[in-house]
């Protein structure tokens, strides 16, 4: 297990830390619980009174029935109010925690979400929250009222007969000890259980996202085997937890029964010795019933509390994680100069980028070329702040990226990802992506990405809903949609990650010409494989294994860099076709 930590490491925030936040609710819950319990306790009293009155011959139906009915309806109302308030509290807690967690995640870095994994965060937001909400709404009230009942019953026992009282009350620490021992052992199990849920989520998730591949390879069986393994783990953890509770609950019942035996054996002795009356003995027995009931309730709540504690510890990990560094505050209109100074990115021991330096002036066009896994995408990510460099700085207009307000910076920086990322929204929402984009910019972006014609063929036009793994768009269309999304910002700088890979040559040429025409002052950085389309660029940077091998114009590189020439040669045979488009 990746996230397994030593058991002794206690989370800073225990689930009990939530209690002060919901003081108001809990006071209300407790009040209603006490009210309904007190009224409930009045019922036996009323019954006894009625029977006594019957014995004395003073019984009348109205005098007995009316108060009884009154109390009954009182209990009904109090209990109903309690149940509703409980539901309300539970859902409030769930909503609040979910909001806090989502808010925290939304302020995190990209790499945090990647390393924590979306599956774990999903479990945090769903089943972990569910465990905690029941704790607050149900377990706390039960716990507190149980403790009161136990204390009250103890007081009654001790005041009736000190010796027998002491003997019986001795049971309470024994039960407490049992709880303690079991909880110490069950806590890590609950944590494991939630971790297994993460793994279940992950396996299901992968099998859904990889559904096409699984069908192409007929690997359903393999997936079943994988799932069976995690599923078995889930079952085994479940059974381990079950074993703990199957031992604990009977043990506690047994200890409670031991109290009855003490009353019978020791109390019987006291009665026979004349130190107690039979009536007191009977009273003792009913007090023990009052003592035992809350203990059993605590027993039932214990599994809930254990689960909630484990879940909250996991949630607290997310809430306590340091947030992404806040950006600067400067809001400036960029000219479009970009510079990287000695930028290195390390993942573990391995360097993805090594001392990368270059300076690009505003309005120029630059291509980044290099073999697969050379670090080209990472370089773009570092430029946009998706990755923070381990060493070195990224400068815009000669000032470090960190001085700019992130929102203002990102609104001038268009990034087109290599893989298509489409949200389950309409085409319009996907392109304007939740922001206010002026219609003029929107139109310009659509035209530049050559999407207008395509959109006109759709019955619902821009309001067509496109889905996560939608079939309605082809690879190239998705790619153009991504470009439109970036261009709709009317950016000063456009970063393209292998944009041309999925678009046919003809469209590619037209789109790039559109970009030049419609966004004349744009600083363009384009990661690409095709030299032909970037030969006339102001600069070409050759990246290999994270290092800048050479940079310069096409002509310079042709005369200086043998590696560049090799790449050029590998493409030359088809260059004559590509050039026909010009």
């Amino acid at each position: 297990m990746k996230s397994a930590k030593p058991a002794k490491e206690k989370p800073k925030n225990s689930v009990f830390s939530l209690i002060p936040r919901y003081k108001g609710f809990l006071v209300g819950l407790l009040g209603l619980a006490i009210l309904s319990n007190a009224l409930n306790l009045a019922i036996p009293k009323l019954v006894a009174n009625g029977i006594d009155a019957f014995g004395k011959g003073t019984y009348d139906l109205i005098g007995f029935g009316l108060p009884f009915l009154g109390v009954m309806f009182g209990v009904l109302l109090a209990a109903y109010a309690l149940a509703i308030l409980q539901a309300f509290t539970a859902e409030r807690v769930a909503r609040d925690i979910r909001r806090d967690v989502a808010d925290k995640i939304s302020r995190q870095t990209f790499s945090y979400v990647q390393t924590t994994t979306p599956s774990k965060l999903l479990t945090n937001l769903t089943s972990d929250v569910d465990a905690v909400k029941t704790f607050v709404s149900m377990a706390t009230v039960t716990l507190i009222s149980s403790v009161f009942l136990i204390l009250g019953a103890c007081a009654l026992l001790l005041s009736t007969n000190l010796k027998l009282g002491l003997a019986v009350v001795l049971i309470v620490p024994l039960i407490g000890g049992t709880f303690f021992v079991v909880f110490r052992r069950v806590g890590p199990l609950f944590k494991q259980a939630q971790e297994v849920v993460d793994r279940l989520n992950k396996t299901i998730n992968e099998s859904i996202l990889g559904a096409a591949l699984i069908r192409v390879l007929n690997a359903g069986k393999e997936e079943d085997v994988k799932f069976a393994e995690v599923n078995t783990q889930a079952k085994n953890v479940g059974i381990s937890i079950l074993r703990m509770f199957a031992s604990m609950i009977p043990l506690i019942t047994f200890l409670a029964s031991a109290a009855t035996l003490t009353i019978l054996g020791f109390g019987g002795h006291l009665v026979i010795a004349g130190e107690m009356t039979v009536g007191q003995l009977a009273a003792f027995n009913s007090y023990v019933a009052i003592l035992i009931f809350p203990i059993i309730m605590i027993g039932f709540m214990s599994s809930l509390i254990g689960r909630a504690a484990a879940s909250y510890a996991r949630i607290a990990e997310v809430l306590d994680a340091p947030a992404a560094a806040e950006g600067g505050e400067e809001i400036a209109t960029l000219r479009g100069d970009i510079e990287m100074k000695d930028v290195s990115i390390l993942v573990g021991e391995k360097a993805i980028l090594k001392d990368v330096s270059f300076a690009l002036s505003a309005g120029t066009r630059t291509a980044i070329i290099g073999p697969t896994a050379a670090g080209k995408t990472q370089l773009l990510y570092a430029l946009t702040g998706l990755i923070t460099p381990t060493k070195g700085v990224v400068l815009y207009d000669q000032r470090p990226v960190t001085v700019y307000d992130p929102q203002s910076l990102h609104s001038q920086l268009g990034l087109v990802f290599q893989d298509s990322i489409i949200f389950n929204l309409t085409l319009r929402e996907n392109i304007s992506f939740g922001q206010d984009i002026s219609p003029e910019y929107f139109e310009k972006a659509m035209e530049t990405a050559e999407l207008s014609d395509f959109v006109h063929t759709l019955p619902d036009g821009l309001d067509t809903l496109v889905s996560e793994r939608g079939t309605s768009l082809s690879g190239g269309q998705k790619q153009r949609l991504m470009l439109a999304r970036a261009l709709a910002l009317n950016p000063k700088i456009l970063l393209l990650d292998d944009f041309t890979a999925r678009v046919d040559t003809n469209t590619e040429h037209r789109i790039l010409a559109n970009v030049r025409k419609n966004y004349p002052n744009l600083t363009l950085v384009s990661v690409t494989q095709k030299i032909a389309s970037v030969e006339d660029y102001d600069r070409i940077i050759l990246l290999m294994e994270g290092e800048v091998l050479a940079q310069g114009t096409h002509a310079e590189l042709m005369s200086r860099s043998p590696e560049y020439v090799q790449i050029f040669e590998s493409q030359r045979s088809t260059n004559r076709y590509e050039h026909q488009a010009d």
Binding site: G50, I51, L69, Y80, A83, I84, A87, A94, R98, A102, S106, P118, L122, T126, L200, N201, K202, I208, L209, A212, I214, R215, L217, N218, A219, G220, D224, F227, K235, G238, I239, L242, I249, L251, F254, L261, G268, V271, I272, A282, P371, T377, Y381, L415, Q418, F423, F433, Q435, T457, S467, T471, S472, S474, A501, V503, N506, S570, Q571, T574, Y577
Partner: protein, 579 residues
């Protein structure tokens, strides 16, 4: 779900649906029932023995008698310690195993469903169904059912006592329970529909989270963190409302059950005193009656709680059933072989996705064995759709795809996938290592050792490509993570397909993000495939299709053969774009 929602099941039919899962557990359930019976008997009997000892030993000063009773009761309690443990162990075990089977069943079903099903679903909602909803069933099976059986036993025992003490009073005392039953039946559909709405909202919330987290880099790069917050807030609020409504609905059981219990006491006292005044009963009997009435209604209160859990379980079950009842849609049909020399042939194929017009219209063409074909055309022209039909990711709306002269639909999945290799446009990797992913789904190497797999790479001259991975074959892969680049993912997909040695290999922009130098070595690998391998290549980069024996131009629902690469380029450059 896009399908019609299944009619919500009533409690009884719902229970019947769950029964098959319990059938295999008959033996364990019988044992559990036995232990429950013993535990309950001891629990019911103990107060009797206690009272007997007070009356007969303590009152008479017979201490040895008291000690004997203590001994007997201790023995009984020890037995109950064992039986209570066993009943929990057996019932809990049943719950865990039922849950295990249920999850396997749903997951297995997911593997059978067609790709079209997944295109309609949000991953988060599916995960929610498999996990959250089965967990609701789990709570029912593991926690509720144990107590359910115990309470029923105690209630049944008590009602026998009540009726044997006094039939009239017994019936009167139990009358509120009958009213409760009617009340519960009346309310259940309402409670369940609200619970179902709540589960649906939860699924929606999961879907939202899943989408946002999977696409987190866009959210960061466009600085739309507020968008994520806003979208989540909407889903969270919807879920809150639905859950609250479900909570309020569920709250309508317990208080009414308490009320019924009190009402029963009122009946017993009033009717009992009436009977006494007519000499039909004694005060002592009335007192025991009051005790037993609590024994009867106490468990009933628990049943109210259990009923809630049962309703939730049923609502969850409905959502799960929607998946289980999905028609896989891609069945195997019988077909006679038709004379055809082609390895693959389209005969009058038309195709449309459920939500659009025809993507392909009445297409016919044939591919010959051992040749290389290229599909070219503008984006959105239908190339990927054509390839998907070849690999039977979809079935044609009209016409047929023939593989070796036989309808593709008549092949078993195993046969078909063995003959056809398809490198998808969007390569997907599973968590594991690079090597795991290369040999994923490869039955031939299912039992091969790490070393044998590495050797297989060497034999197929793929080992050179390993230099592209930071830790070679053992480079760790996390699904969806950025540690493996798109180009690297394409390399893995390429190696995976080649190692399976298919008769027909389809490459859908399989090398689009791979640098041209590496690509040349891939072409070398392709050339070394057995002579009879037919290749279908979709690519934008013209060098990848240069050496094709035949070129098809795909656009506007039509597929036309192009005589030469030059002609194809002309079509691309000057042809009318209809996409």
């Amino acid at each position: 779900m896009n399908t019609k929602p299944t009619k919500p099941t009533s409690s009884l039919t719902g229970l019947r649906k769950l029964l098959p899962f319990l059938k295999v557990e008959r033996g364990n359930l019988a044992w559990a029932a036995l232990f429950i019976l013993v535990t309950s008997t001891i629990n019911l009997g103990a107060p009797f023995v206690f009272g007997y000892a007070v009356d007969n030993f303590i009152a008479k000063g017979d201490y040895p008698g008291v000690l004997v009773t203590v001994g007997v009761m201790l023995a009984a309690y020890l037995i109950s310690l064992g039986t209570q443990y066993s009943q929990m162990w057996f019932m809990g075990g049943v719950g865990q195993r039922v849950l295990f089977r249920l999850r396997s069943l749903i997951f297995g079903k997911l593997q059978q469903l067609s790709i079209a099903f997944f295109n309609r679903q949000k991953a988060g909602d599916l995960i929610s169904r498999i996990n959250n909803d089965t967990d609701k069933l789990n709570q029912f099976f593991a926690e509720t059912l144990v107590r359910f059986v115990g309470t029923i036993v105690i209630m049944a025992g008590t009602s026998i006592f009540l009726l044997s003490l006094n039939v009239k009073l017994g019936l009167a005392a139990m009358a509120p329970a009958v009213v409760l039953l009617a009340y519960t039946r009346l309310l259940s559909p309402w409670v369940k529909s609200r619970t179902a709405a709540s589960l649906k909202a939860m699924g929606g919330l999961s879907g939202e989270v899943q989408e946002s987290l999977d696409h987190f880099k866009v959210i960061v790069a466009f600085d739309r963190r507020d968008y994520f917050r806003k979208q989540f807030e909407i889903a969270n609020e919807t879920n809150y409302r639905a859950a609250l409504r479900a909570g309020v609905a569920n709250a309508s059981y317990s208080p009414v059950y308490d009320f019924a219990s009190s009402f029963a006491q009122l009946i017993v006292v009033v009717y009992g005193l009436f009977l006494i005044s007519h000499g039909a009963m004694t005060i002592g009997l009335l007192l025991s009656f009051l005790l037993y009435i609590n024994q009867f209604y106490g468990p009933l209160r628990q049943i109210a709680m259990l009923w809630q859990s049962f309703q939730t379980a049923l609502a969850a079950w409905d959502r799960i059933s929607e998946i289980l009842e999905q028609d896989p849609g891609m069945g195997k049909t019988k077909a006679k072989a038709q004379a055809s020399s082609a390895v693959l042939e389209f005969r009058g194929v038309s195709f449309r996705y459920s939500d659009s017009g025809d993507v392909l219209k009445d297409i016919s063409f044939a591919l010959e064995r051992g040749k290389t074909y290229a599909l070219v055309g503008p984006t959105g022209g239908g190339k990927t759709t054509t390839a998907s039909l070849m690999a039977r990711l979809y079935d044609p709306t009209e016409g047929a795809v023939l593989l070796g002269g036989r309808d593709l639909r008549s092949y078993s999945n195993e046969e078909r996938t063995k003959k056809i290799g398809f490198i998808l446009q969007e390569p997907f990797l599973f968590s594991g290592t690079v090597l795991d992913n290369i040999f994923y789904g490869n039955t031939e190497y299912a039992k091969a050792s790490h070393e044998e797999k590495v050797n297989a790479l060497k034999e197929n001259r793929l080992d050179g490509l390993m230099a592209r991975f930071s830790e070679g074959v053992d480079t760790p892969v996390q699904a969806g993570a950025e540690t493996i680049s798109l180009g690297q993912r394409q390399l893995i997909a390429f190696m995976r397909a080649v190692l399976r040695k298919p008769e027909l290999l389809i490459l859908d922009e399989a090398t689009a993000n791979i640098d041209t130098v590496t690509e040349q070595s891939l072409e070398e690998v392709l050339r070394q495939l057995p002579e009879e391998t037919t290749r279908v290549i979709i690519a934008h980069r013209l060098n990848t299709i240069e050496s094709a024996d035949g070129i098809f131009f795909v656009n506007g629902g039509k597929i036309e053969g192009a005589g030469s690469l030059q002609q194809a380029v002309d079509m691309l450059m000057h042809g009318k774009r209809q996409s």
